[in-house]
Symmetry: C2
Subunit: 617 residues, 2 copies
């Protein structure tokens, strides 16, 4: 085997150069060169932001993603997506100003300062003697003495299950081991030198994201996702809460299946990285208030009925194993605090990750999901304000005739052209249905092409539309083209569902701005978090009237900020304190009793008039 | 109904008088008068110590217990047992000097200073407002605020299960409740005014004793006992440890059945006292090292094999419910520390209860049981010394042909007379078998009447003995007299079993005295604890050579001192610290490797020669 060839990539006008191996993407080359290209999707072919122009040299041919996102004209002028273009020789690249990260369109993880690392648990290598008839100290006393000798401070306590681990591992390792300490508590031991790891979890209503983090370096070693298995017992929060209130067994079941899912994710994470669960000595979980209540088997009846109060919105530090999370025997789980019944720890984590609490600007932060939380921060106001909107699961593809989750074959982008319809699907697979961003895109295109009016009604007579079973509809892919063998359409009902969903968010935004006396034009930044939010086409969102007119606002899509916040709190005791500060100092505005909210909602469902549409592709 | 008549009892020569109702025992009258009569058994007809002489007045006729313990001659001279004699008119009583408590022959609970009350958990009554749309604080935040307002200090944390209790109880009680606090942790809530209770447990290899204690007054409200259900899986410690090491399931089972037994005892205690389990907000458990290892599912393999080290001998503070003890949702269990692999927390508790660690005399403390622990304390020596003897279950009636536990019909005392055999049985029921004290009594009587020699061998030719199936034997009750319809005998093998058991204890005592350079004549006090110990006839124990000659020693039988120690530690954080001090400052002497221990054991099995026998009744 010969080593792959190495080529130089020259980024202009910055003038940075880097040597990379053949086949590396221009995006990876830019990262290696320290050139920060805008890329919300992180190289997943999702956002189309990493556009560059090839000035000289050999690169790969345009792929399907580039052909979808870029116009033929652009491609002809060597405009390419850095994520989709491989280096095949020495290359000179021009980075347009729009593509360079300037602090305005950022990925959270790139823009934030390095993660603060002051973890709750640290590892220490110790060695001691085996018991003899002259030295009959108990196993625990023996290990504790070795720790005290090494650290100079005494060990206070530990769980019996940690003692069990000591007796087994210490003998197997001839009394030379790694001890993991949480302040004065011994939470586990392992083979000498094994690094201390932590598990961070963003527990969503629909999806669970889990991260394995090195507690010493702060590095994220691996990340995996899974569906929340509670979905089988209710797709939305309220139906799940109702299921739980029906019996103690129901409530126990909902908790148990999530802990089982977390155990599977933790096992997968350590498997991927060649580590083992005994090294996972700390965990941090964020989620919305209802998900955390269900996870901890907290009472939910009062959360599902007016005035909708949480049983607890405080942070918890609990031993993991009695809860059902089978990581290191003495490990704790830190549960981040919530703000209220409908603004959870995931929102706190998002605020933490985006530094929203440390802002000197007027900023809005949105977590778009089945439940959408919005926070507003203003300089010189010592607290944040937040609302929660019941936006429903339409953005996750539910209640949409051909809706689906963001899986292979989901239509994630739609363009109407004079020649017909252009689609982009996940994995470039034959279209099967529409995921959230595709639905928003489709509705926006319908509006731009005046195929629907401001009320969302499809034209009765238009050759681009057809009569479906339940009224007019737009055919996106015919049975012969689709992956399912059935027509993929967007119907009048689907449009109405989207109007309801975006109406809830729009009304929440209006109420929040009004309640805080914040004129829309003073908003300087809008941060959009959440999985859906990061794939959302902002122009399309604006063109269906997601947002009030905020002419001075910059939009920033930050991906799973809650997951980042969970990792920050996992890694830093100071950030845990900050999370509690955020929860304490956020004023929750209840929308159900907000004056004229019903009217705001009705108005919010309207689509913008023609003169407000920004873009026609 | 007329009130019962009231009579005066005059105790001479002390000169104290008291008015009591008709039918009250002289022992109760003495207690009411503040006259402390010696009574190891506490009025249970067990010890025969509370002898008094009726000088004038009308009392009940002698009962079966008095006829058993007292000679006919004594009864003729109006010598009576205060516990068994009821007042039927004005009475003048003489209290012999031997019967008066002089600080030498005491019951522990009478002699000790009042229990120290500085409990870990305290109750506080609080009231707050129900949630409204204007006040959306979570249930926990609301309760915490009320506690902070009342106590002036903030509440830190609590378990999710406590939050569940809050949401239910606070609504039911209209937000006026009793909150139970363990430092800054909320461990439970209940109906306003409900006193905080605690559960103290002495977990023996054979028996479990449980106490319900008022954490504010220190009063023991109720006590109950039960067999340790692990007996089905091994009567002695070693066989039980072996069972546990065979599989994880076995070990889990042994723990689970004990927690279930403790739950039943706790339920019975609260039922008896009209309280409920939510009020049981703290618990304290003592037991030998092996029992605590099995209870907490600590590894036991290393405890069952040389050099027999504990996995942990430190104290534990653990949440009760995750362990399986279903008391108040946030309650903790405090597990007292152990001294070593074979000297457990029960021994620490005994030392605590008898103030052995605060001694200015040379004192021995014995916990006689399946495993017998002995501690020695000397003035000016800054630590205690202890040994553990594998005395076996013979004193609990096991391995004895007609042995049985101390239940109804068990022979607990035996006297040989010229006229035949006198027996005393528990509940005065027809004899069924022999319990520990009866076996010791029987062997002592055989030795006193020279029916066995110093080697323990029964005479071949003696009309009082008969040929049994396996050699000579003494018939105690024939089939026609017995409660079982079978002969009750004591056989040569039974005598050998008792010799083995007492030989182990005797050898342990000798080794302890030798190792600490303590001449037997310098021993000033011998404290005998444990259920068996309190029923043991000390004279009989001496006459079978339980103890070396300790001419200057006073014997003190203190009943279940471990149970008292458990209550002390339950009630007092200072006593928990003291228990840790005791555990830390006790030097364990391993007997298996002690020089010449085998010889000591062989010698210890011998019975005393004729000139050393003290008493022939």
């Amino acid at each position: 085997m010969t080593d792959p060839a190495t080529y130089e990539v020259d980024f202009e006008p910055i003038g940075k150069r880097v040597l990379v191996e053949e086949g590396v993407s221009l995006l990876a080359a830019a990262q290696a060169a320290g050139v920060h290209l805008s890329s919300t999707c992180g190289g997943d072919w999702g956002c189309g932001q990493c556009q560059v122009i090839i000035l000289e040299g050999q690169v790969s041919e345009p792929n399907s993603n580039e052909k979808f996102i870029l116009e033929a004209e652009d491609l002809a002028q060597n405009r390419r997506l850095a994520c989709s273009t491989q280096v095949l020789g020495d290359v000179k690249v021009h980075v347009p100003k729009d593509t360079l990260v300037t602090g305005q369109r950022l990925q959270v993880e790139g823009s934030l300062a390095p993660l603060r690392v002051d973890p709750a648990v640290a590892g220490i290598e110790i060695e001691t003697d085996a018991p003899t008839i002259q030295d009959l100290r108990s196993d625990l006393a023996r290990i504790n003495a070795a720790i005290s000798k090494s650290t100079g401070s005494s060990v206070g306590k530990c769980l019996p299950s940690v003692v069990s681990q000591i007796s087994a591992v210490a003998r197997q390792e001839s009394w030379r081991v790694q001890a993991y300490l949480r302040r004065s508590e011994l939470v586990g031991i392992s083979v000498a030198g094994d690094p201390a790891l932590g598990l961070a979890v963003d527990l969503g209503t629909t999806k669970i994201a889990a991260y394995l983090v090195d507690l010493q370096s702060g590095e994220t070693l691996s990340q995996v996702g899974a569906m929340n298995p509670q979905i089988s017992y209710g797709e939305d929060v309220i139906s799940r809460l109702k299921y739980a209130t029906r019996s103690v067994e129901n409530q126990r079941l909902l908790a148990r299946i999530v802990w089982e899912a977390l155990n599977e994710l933790a096992s997968e994470l350590v498997r991927q990285t060649g580590q083992h669960l005994n090294q996972v000595v700390d965990a941090c979980i964020v989620g919305n208030t209802a998900m955390l209540h269900l996870l901890l088997e907290l009472p939910v009846r009062q959360l599902a009925t007016a005035p909708y109060v949480a049983a607890s919105d405080l942070a918890f530090d609990l031993h993991a194993r009695p809860l059902g999370l089978m990581i290191a025997p003495g490990a704790y789980v830190h549960i981040l605090p919530c703000i209220g019944g409908f603004v959870g720890a995931d929102h706190v984590a998002m605020i933490l990750a985006t530094d929203l609490d440390h802002s000197q600007k007027v900023r809005l932060g949105l977590d778009i999901g089945t439940n959408t939380e919005i926070a507003l921060v203003k300089p010189d106001v010592p607290y944040l304000s937040s609302v929660a909107c019941a936006s429903g699961p339409a953005f996750e593809g539910a209640h949409i005739s051909d809706g689906m989750r963001a899986a292979s074959g989901a239509i994630e982008a739609v363009r109407l052209t004079d020649q017909g319809i252009k689609l982009r699907t996940i994995d470039d697979a034959p279209p099967v249905g529409l995921c959230g961003s595709g639905i928003v895109d489709a509705v926006a295109e319908l509006r731009r092409w005046s195929l629907i009016n401001t009320g969302g009604r499809l034209q009765k007579e238009n050759s681009r539309l057809r009569q479906g079973r339940q009224g007019m509809e737009l055919l996106l892919a015919s049975a012969s083209q689709s992956g399912s063998g059935r027509d993929v359409v967007i119907s009048q009902e689907d449009i109405n569902e989207i109007q309801l969903a975006k109406g809830a968010i729009r009304a929440g935004l209006e109420a929040l701005l009004q309640a805080t006396e914040t004129p829309p034009e003073t908003v300087e930044e809008v941060i959009i978090a959440g999985a859906f939010g990061s794939f959302l086409n902002i122009d399309s969102a604006c063109d269906i009237g997601f947002f009030p007119e905020m002419p001075n606002a910059i939009f920033r899509q930050v991906g799973n900020a809650a997951g980042l916040g969970a990792r920050m709190a996992l890694l830093s005791l100071a950030d845990r304190e900050r999370a509690q500060e955020i929860a304490t100092h956020t004023r929750y505005i209840e929308l159900t009793t907000y004056p004229n909210f019903a009217l705001m909602f009705a108005r919010g469902m309207q689509l913008p008039p023609d003169d407000r549409l920004k873009i026609k592709y």
